[in-house]
């Protein structure tokens, strides 16, 4: 029986070998090679130049993950506490943007955030800039030198990149947290109240620890794509907010053609992400078991 069924796994094993294992091996080989095919650590030494890109990538990804968590947890919690009808509608609303192409969604944000984009046009039409200029003029020590503004700089900022990440990856935070909370046994919450816990304490001592596995997988699912994104930073960062994804892409497809360096950066990024996840999962281990119950 077992042997019979295990035959079914063969195509999948082949698939994995060709498209997952082989590329990783190639990446490792490239990362330690020169263009002549000799072994070297030089690619890693060269990465020092891009320390700022590493820093920015992790900084923005962490910020985006935290914001997703701050928005996603309360949303998931409220959804889980509402009736099934509300849950269905909310689920559709959350999933709806994901039915659209990722690039399309990000391009839409571009046209919203641009200097003469929708948002700035809206601010102009309600007279926000006139108001600011008026006040600025009066407050300025030398009104002659005051430069009036006609738009906010939104596109091309780190804020825009974070916004793009949050917008694109928020559903990946909401769904796992929601599915854990909605499955929480109501009698556990009743038991906690029965033992004297008020609502705040029920949340802190029961709901929060039991929903931690959902939080962990949500954090993973937001952080990993965020740290490696290149389209979002390219489109909303206006080329000024280069991230790891952009850097790697440049090494393979861009002007700075150097696949050996690109492979090395990819490898380092992968290692860092894997380590982060391992550490986090270690903390969440006890709770993970709890949910299996």
């Amino acid at each position: 029986m077992k042997n019979k069924l295990s035959g079914l796994a063969v195509p999948y094993v082949i698939w994995m070998a060709i498209f997952v294992v082989a590329p990783i091996i190639m990446m490792v080989v490239y990362a330690f090679s020169t263009s002549n095919g000799n072994f070297t650590f030089g690619n890693f030494a060269d990465m020092g130049l891009y320390a700022s890109v590493f820093g920015r990538s992790f900084k923005l990804a962490i910020i985006a993950t935290i914001i997703c968590l701050l928005i996603g947890y309360p949303v998931s919690y409220m959804m889980a506490k509402e009736g099934p009808r509300f849950q269905k509608v909310a689920m559709v609303i959350i999933m709806l943007p994901m039915w659209m192409n990722f690039l399309l969604r990000t391009y839409s944000w571009m046209s919203i955030l641009e200097n003469n984009g929708l948002l700035n046009q809206f601010f102009a039409s309600i007279g926000l800039f006139d108001l600011i200029n008026n006040i600025g003029m009066r407050m300025a020590a030398n009104p002659e030198l005051y430069v009036p503004i006609d738009h906010f700089n939104m596109i091309g900022t780190q804020g825009a990149v974070v916004l793009g990440m949050v917008y694109n990856y928020l559903p990946f935070m909401i769904l796992p947290i929601y599915s854990v909370i909605v499955k929480l046994d109501n009698s556990l919450l009743e038991a906690a109240r029965d033992l004297g816990a008020n609502n705040m304490r029920v949340f802190r001592k029961v709901i929060l620890p039991l929903s931690l596995p959902g939080v962990l997988s949500g954090v993973t699912m937001v952080f990993v794509p965020s740290v490696s994104t290149f389209a979002i930073s390219r489109l909303l960062g206006g080329g000024t907010q280069m991230m790891l994804g952009d850097l790697i892409e440049q090494q393979f497809l861009g002007g700075a053609y150097d696949p050996y360096l690109g492979a090395a950066i990819s490898l380092v990024m992968m290692v860092i992400v894997v380590v982060c996840m391992a550490v986090m999962n270690h903390f969440g281990e006890g709770e993970e078991q709890a949910v299996m119950l």
Partner: protein, 389 residues
């Protein structure tokens, strides 16, 4: 029994159109073991949830020590609950589960938050684990415990808070027969040792009779009878109680005068009085009270139609002029044999006619009756699946 502790006054609960509790009036004495007994959907768990504070009655008052507590939330009541499926916290070990209630700061008379010192918490938890025979289990995870052990953790977790009342919602439902019997004794022992009120919900009549000081039989959101286990068994008030508690043959009879009842066109002596002359009544005869004699010596003569061996006794179905009785006897009477029976005055119990008259106590369709009895386990499964939804 001592003084009254909890009283439900004219309590009704309705969800949309369905009436769950219908004008319930009941009081619970301090330090008594009281069981709410009834089939599923009778309102017993609803009653428990009202006392626990998880449900507010649609109308009526809940009094605790004379004070109305309708709007007091569960966490401020001097009541703790042992839930049907234990509801232990899976992320905490045995010790922390039991300590959960103790770690919550209490408000004293001056409105100040008071924490119980860690040393006292440890002492009280260990003491309680000893009471429930779980010494040495404090570091164990909940998932590693058996059903009976989880059950005892749940009891310890509730009792460690020294509540005035412990509510138990079918706590032994998920345990096997043997463990159930052990836990019944255990619970009774704990209740007597702790000297607090236990309000126990079950659909298992044997359990109710074995443990309780007082049994409250419920059906259709109403109380059918309140009494000691002996009262309930020996003097059932109506056909429902007679049928639900143990086995009963229930017949139509006519009360001719005090101490004389007629059924099967024959007058019998009985011990009941106070009925109107010629009042139609329900006559209850317990299957184990019937004496089988030789056919010519019997007051009634019938034919055995089926015999089932039950261990201690035989369940014998006997046909009396087309009306089938269940007789429990330690003697074997083969199918088809003719027997006589004798009914002594104290074997016959007379009840007033009620809405349940004619619904129970007929063994003509014996096998179906057995399905119904076997339903106890099915019923429990249904309740569990409801919970999961």
């Amino acid at each position: 029994m001592s003084k009254e502790l909890i009283r439900l006054k004219n309590v009704s609960v309705a969800f949309e159109d369905a009436v769950i509790l219908d004008n319930l009036n009941i009081y619970f004495n301090d330090k008594e073991f009281l069981t709410l007994l009834g089939p599923s959907g009778c309102g017993k768990t609803t009653t428990l949830r009202i006392i626990g504070g998880f449900l507010t009655p649609t109308s009526g008052d809940v009094l605790f020590d004379g004070v109305r507590i309708n709007d007091v939330p569960p966490h401020k009541r001097q009541v703790n609950t042992v839930f049907q499926k234990y509801a232990l916290f899976p992320h905490l070990n045995v010790f922390e589960n039991v300590a959960f209630g103790l770690r919550i700061p209490k408000t004293d008379e001056n409105g100040k938050k008071v924490k119980i010192p860690e040393k006292e918490i440890t002492e009280r938890v260990m003491e309680m684990l000893e009471v429930v025979n779980l010494k040495g289990f404090e570091k164990r995870s909940i998932t590693s415990l058996s059903g009976g052990q989880q059950q005892r953790v749940a009891i310890a977790r509730a009792l460690v808070n020294r509540p005035k009342v412990l509510l138990l919602d079918e706590p032994l439902g998920a345990l096997d027969m043997r463990l159930r019997k052990d836990m019944q004794n255990e619970l009774k022992r704990i209740q007597q040792a702790m000297e607090i009120t236990f309000i126990y919900v079950t659909h298992d009549q044997e359990e109710a009779l074995a443990m309780s000081d007082t049994v409250v039989v419920m059906d259709g959101g109403k109380i059918q009878q309140i009494g000691t286990p002996e009262d309930i068994y020996n003097e059932p008030k109506n056909a429902f109680v007679a049928d639900f508690i143990g086995e009963s043959n229930i017949l139509d009879g006519i009360m001719h005068e005090d101490y004389v009842v007629e059924f099967f066109n024959r007058k019998f002596k009985c011990l009941d009085k106070g009925f109107a002359p010629m009042e139609p009544v329900d006559v209850v005869i317990r299957p184990e009270d019937i004496d089988i004699v030789a056919p010519e010596k019997g007051q009634l003569r019938g034919t055995v139609t089926s015999v089932t061996f039950k261990g201690v006794h035989y369940d014998t179905i006997v046909d009396f002029k087309g009306y089938k009785w269940l007789i429990q006897t330690t003697d074997y009477h083969a199918e088809g044999s003719v027997i006589g029976i004798i009914l002594n005055p104290d074997d016959i119990h007379i009840m007033k006619k009620s809405e349940y008259s004619g619904m129970f106590g007929d063994y003509s369709s014996y096998s179906e009756e057995y399905d119904e009895i076997g339903d106890a386990s099915v019923e429990l499964d249904e309740e569990e699946s409801e919970d999961e939804e």
